[in-house]
Amino acid sequence: MGFVRFLLSRILIYILVIWVGITTIFFIPRLMPSDPVEAMLGRVMSQGAFMEPEQVQALRQSLIASFGLEGTLGQQYVGFLKRVLLTGDFGPSLAMFPTPVMDLIRKAIPWSLFLLLSSAIIAWVIGNVIGLLSGYYRHKVYSRILEAIAVTIYPIPYYILALILIILFVYIKPIFPLSFSVQGKFPSLQFIVSTVYNSILPALSIVIAGSGWWVLSMKALSSSISEEDFVRFAKLKGVGEGKIMGQYVLRNAILPQITMLALVLGGVFNGALITEILFAYPGLGTLIYTAVLQADYNLLMGTISLSIIAVATATFLVDLLYPFFDPRIRYR
């Protein structure tokens, strides 16, 4: 009964968060100084197609209908909710009119998931392993060296790391391709190999930049837990170092890291904007960049709504799974 009440309350909060997020993302772009219909008309006319005013008006009406901008703001909002919630339809992209926004997102998602999911998990694993070792053996020299490396890397913005990697491995020692270019068709070996090969540098920039934070946070947690009485007691009792580190320290320190990981994984749906642009990577970050550049607010709403849903879902799942990781927590 406790679990059912807990689940219902979490589902309610989950739906509420998504509704507030989507509602906000519906209204915010409408406060932007540009109107997608006028931007579209401006672009058509700036390319040399001169039209009589009545032709402009006819085109404007047609675009207003296509973009779902007919009626009052309230009517638009109701129509938007119906379309999005019932059919997941965010309308056509303005920048790539008339391609539906969902088609563009569907194409970009796998690339962002592949890059960010794998690099986020790799960074998490590496960072936590190093952090655990340097926190548990905090008085050793190598622990201090590892910490110093992490402290040095952590504040470097990931796009600076990306640029450094490009200079090192594309220009000075051209091991990796200059720009993203996948060969073959999925699921051929050629496709998989070239995808991995093309993704190494962007992934490396994210892994290096991401690991720094995980190292520092895990080190802080594990060194603090290592000082706890139950750890000292275990040592006095003669429990092996490996077991203390793995089952006493790690299991206690890992909980906040899992929470953060879930949020990071939710954020995967934002793409890695600057990394994707620097490496010409075709993910969601590039899509969001295009949406902002072109004042394409259907696309903006689509990509950001996806991100809201992903983060809310990740949080929801963490809430549900937490008791499995921490026996002290119960569904109430």
Binding site: M32, P33, S34, D35, P36, E38, A39, L41, G42, M45, S46, G48, A49, F50, M51, E52, P53, Q55, V56, L59, R60, S62, L94, A95, M96, F97, P98, T99, R106, K107, I109, P110, L113, F114, L117, I121, I166, V170, Y171, P177, S179, F180, S181, V182, Q183, F186, P187, L265, I277, L278, A280, P282, V292, L293, Q294, A295, D296, L321, F324, F325
Partner: protein, 651 residues
Amino acid sequence: MRARCQPVTLAFLVIAGLLLGACAQLVQAPAPSLPTAEATPVVEGRLTEVGTPRHETLILDHLDGRVDNPTQFNPYMSGTRFNQGYHQLALSNMWEMNTVTGQQFPAMAAEMPEPLNEDYTKFRIKLRQGMYWSDGVEITSDDFAYTVDMILNTPEFGYSGFLKQVVKSYKVIDRYTIELETLRPEPRLGYTLGVTVWGDAFRLVPKHVFEKAENPATFNFYPPVSSGPYVLKDVDPNGYWFLWEKRQDWQRTDAGMIAGEPKPKYILVRFYGPEEKRVIAGIQHDLDIFTDITPESWDILRQKNPYAKAWYDHFPWANLDDPCERGIAFVIPNSPYEKKEVRWALALATDIQKVSLATFAGMLRVSPLATPPIHILQETYHKPLRPWLIDFAFEDGYKPFDPDFAVKMAKTLRDQGIEGIPTDEQEIIDLFGVGWWKYDPEKAAQLLESVGFKRGADGKWLLPDGTPWRMTINAPANFEVQSQRLAYAVADVWRQFGIDVNVQAMEAGTFWSSWSNGTFDAGSYWPGCGVAPDIYDNMVSAWHKKYIVPIGQPAPGNAVRYESDTLSAILDELSFLTSDDPKTVELMREFMKAWVAELPWLPMFGTSKFVPVDTYYWTNFPDANNYYEGPWWWWSLFKYMVPKFEPTGRR
């Protein structure tokens, strides 16, 4: 034991589920499916990243960046892109432009349109015989008729509205001849339905393909059937590259008949990403033609790649003949810009030499007229009107023109140690322009005071109603770097003059929306364009009062909303003249004089384009010493240039 494994198992399942989801999406990613793919034979030398022999492949930079909808080739659908090689290689127009002579020439048409009456409302149009679509079907007047009907009957096409203003009816006379009746006199029909600058929206489509489409408004036309000498061979589903292959029957295209055989077997149009990556590609000989880079990048490229060549072998390096001039435009109905005295005051408060140096280190040609200072137009308008500009005076006798700008700029640059600056005055004028307005802040102040402006206690200008004069200049944020830098440079000199000026950098969508709707005070825009001596089309759209709409509505033309009976009357008179009528240029010069007297916007410089090439694999690109065409790699005329390119033999 089982209980301890549970969290790990669960976490593994969640992660595995997410990864599987990602893989499932990858399965759905569209893959190119084009019919012309063949097994690539084993060849000596380097291969390109797409597997073609490097020495047979010309690699062209993509001006527009990534194409998000890489399989959309319907030329009339909104959002279809053309600079990825499509209109340069696979689409031909009825009439094309030679930018060296400033003359149009018949392309798919066999000759220029033949007027059949004195009103210029009936024309005979003949198609070139022997042209075929890339799928082997002959191009005939049926394709022309079908294209016109399709556009007129598909209101979803933005171009439909335009063509409805032009075409009244047509008659197919025979397999290659059409008679066209227009709704209004069209003495320049070649301009209306042909290329004048970058390309033209009127492009024939293959009837036999489009008539099978369920709805032309949503038909993607992929893979496209080509009327040009190349055909799409492969495309990156992510839109970063497009590979074009020479047609085996290239002779059966207008470009083949006019310009001959193109040497590159493949043309790869590639977007490498930000400018620094494009420069790296150039240094590594992976990019033969750049579409646009900054002067700073050119400096790096020429130092690192001895095969890199710019338009000039010395200063100013860049090509100065881009057909749109840059400057500061105002929305004229917005106070205080409706006053001629204010616009003139701003001109005289501009230290144009300082602006030139701050914008592009002085590598710019000035223009005081409404038309760009490109070679042809400088000879047609700027130079012939220079004596008039020197004598031009305000009502009080003040002469605002400074004919010595070029000489002074040459001296400044020479003093800076810049090499390659000519010493002959005519050459200096050819390089830096015929002159611009004087830098005379005192006269500028006098003009402002004459219409009620005052200086405040802090020395800053107050509007006639006593409030501070604040101005925001719109500038492009991440594109058109020259206009962006120009905005900041002008803001700087106007601030020194005492105006509270702010620059607002805007992304493309907002920038153009603001321009079209007239929702700005001032902006770094470029309404002055032109290539050929007959600039009527450009001027009528920019300055005729019939295009004025209220602020807040997108303007179909005349975006600065300047209402002038004098200018409109001259344009009306010009509308009945043909391009080759001697009166056209004569009357257009009168237009320029009337325009200068009113100065509705402040043109400053022609556009300098850094469009270098790498001559490692290919050579005989056009340049200042080999000027067979301008370096307009992203224009439709590119297909007539390619046959001149020669392989160097390097592998």
